[in-house]
Assembly symmetry: C2
């Protein structure tokens, strides 16, 4: 592959391999395994993708008006400060907001806790033609739930299979699920948390609990390794995104969305009316 050139298929390069558990410590958080090699080139490449992404989104949306049920769901997971919100802002922000459905999942409310853990997720799924984005997701129920023992171990065990069945159901219903683990280093998180403390306009994003969670870093990494291993599938793959460099993270997620949309190849529907006749009517008024 030519240096600095985008690969023909970033999906293949970043996808978690099926069959064996990965070791996240062997995945570089500052790596730029394909595509642009510096911030300036990265930001420019992402911006250039904007028009193509919005064009493909409009085709997907248009196709839905005549019954095409296809849509995209971007699932963003990662440690605090890994850039889930930034990815929504910079990548989902490239699309037309009319066709986007963004949901940030927080700790479940009392009402949500009364239901099955997938209940609140199903309500926020993208409708046909839409681009959905989850900032955190149903995976929290096998991540924080596992690390902090918020549910009995056998319940957590069952959830992996429930997630797999749920995502198979989504695939059957024509939802393309793209799951991205934003992979940052322990040091980078410290740097970003300090930045939140140093900037008055960032302090509201910080909570002292974020530091408590850092003490559980190895347990979280393990929980991610298990979730990525047990819940990656051809119809709903996990991708590991090197996320210490924000510009690379944005480029990689945008590129994955682009490749998936290009593979869907949505088409504008053919008119179900007589174009020439309508033109004459308009001109003859």
């Amino acid at each position: 592959m030519e240096k600095g050139k985008a690969p023909r298929d970033l999906r293949r390069l970043l996808r978690v391999p099926a069959g064996k558990r990965i070791d996240l410590s062997t995945y570089g958080t500052r790596a730029t395994p394909a595509g642009p090699k510096n911030k300036q080139a990265g930001r420019a490449a992402t911006a250039r993708m904007g028009k193509r992404l919005a064009d493909l989104q409009e085709r997907l949306w248009a196709a839905a008006t005549t019954g095409d049920r296809r849509r995209l769901l971007l699932v963003l997971q990662g440690m605090d400060t890994s850039g889930k919100g930034g990815t929504v802002k910079h990548v989902v922000g490239l699309f037309n907001p009319a066709g986007c459905r963004v949901m940030g999942f927080k700790a479940p409310t009392p009402e949500e806790r009364e239901h099955h853990f997938l209940w609140r997720v199903e309500k926020e799924l993208p409708r046909p033609g839409e681009i959905g984005a989850f900032d955190r997701s149903h995976y929290e129920d096998v991540l924080v739930a596992r690390v902090r023992a918020l549910a009995p171990p056998d319940e957590i065990e069952r959830r992996y299979e429930e997630i797999n069945r749920f995502e198979q159901f989504l695939a059957d219903d024509r939802v393309t699920v793209i799951k991205c683990f934003l992979h940052i280093s322990y040091e980078e998180q410290r740097h970003r948390l300090l930045r939140r403390l140093d900037r008055p306009d960032k302090r509201w994003k910080f909570s002292p609990g974020d530091i408590d969670d850092r003490a559980l870093w190895p347990a979280y990494q393990e929980a991610y390794e298990i979730a990525l291993h047990r819940c990656t599938a051809p119809h709903a793959p996990w991708y590991v995104i090197p996320a210490d460099r924000k510009w690379y993270r944005d480029w990689a997620v945008a590129r994955l969305l682009l490749e998936h949309l290009q593979a869907l190849d949505p088409q504008y529907p053919e008119p179900d009316y007589d174009v020439a006749e309508s033109r004459e009517r308009l001109l003859g008024e």
Copy 2:
């Protein structure tokens, strides 16, 4: 006012005056009553507003995390092709999609028809901290419903007052409602409909029914005049946006949003934790 300079308050300039019915035919559709005077300057001015809009949105969002219930609701109405969708794309697209809630209202579904006409609208209201946008709205129930007699006259009559009470309720609940009528001319609509027919990627947006609606143009203009007259209020004003020039329409709506957000003046919340102590903990790990 200096030529080409933005006015100190576009709200005052474009707001429908209370108390008397307006005559839409006296409102210019190609006018540029304030602000930029050509496309290049207009597009640049709108882009420049993007950063300030997104910054104010983040403050609004941050304030909501500590209980501030304020939010914005942009209501877009106008004839077919008046640019409601384009305004969402180009103006709402300036915000962070994580904090936007966009809804396009179509002809009511059978389920929606079983409910009060405001039922489907209430479900889609912006949550605290959000920027909501309606592409069509509850006003359809006094516009198309009036022109096509989809409800008995006394029912339509009651709806104006119900809308006023509803919007008063929204104001009480800290929703800033900004209602924009995108005003285009009969000739401009013909031009835009022809364009939809001429471009294969636009044909899906066209329906022969759009031409039937053109025959009812005067009735629609009258229905708008009545709705704008009866449902403009200090807490939920109507604005008439000259919309034949897309760049001016986008600039004017962006500018109205900016003025309203600046008036709200949302502030980042003060941290409820000890910043210095957290910093020490992070550095001492």
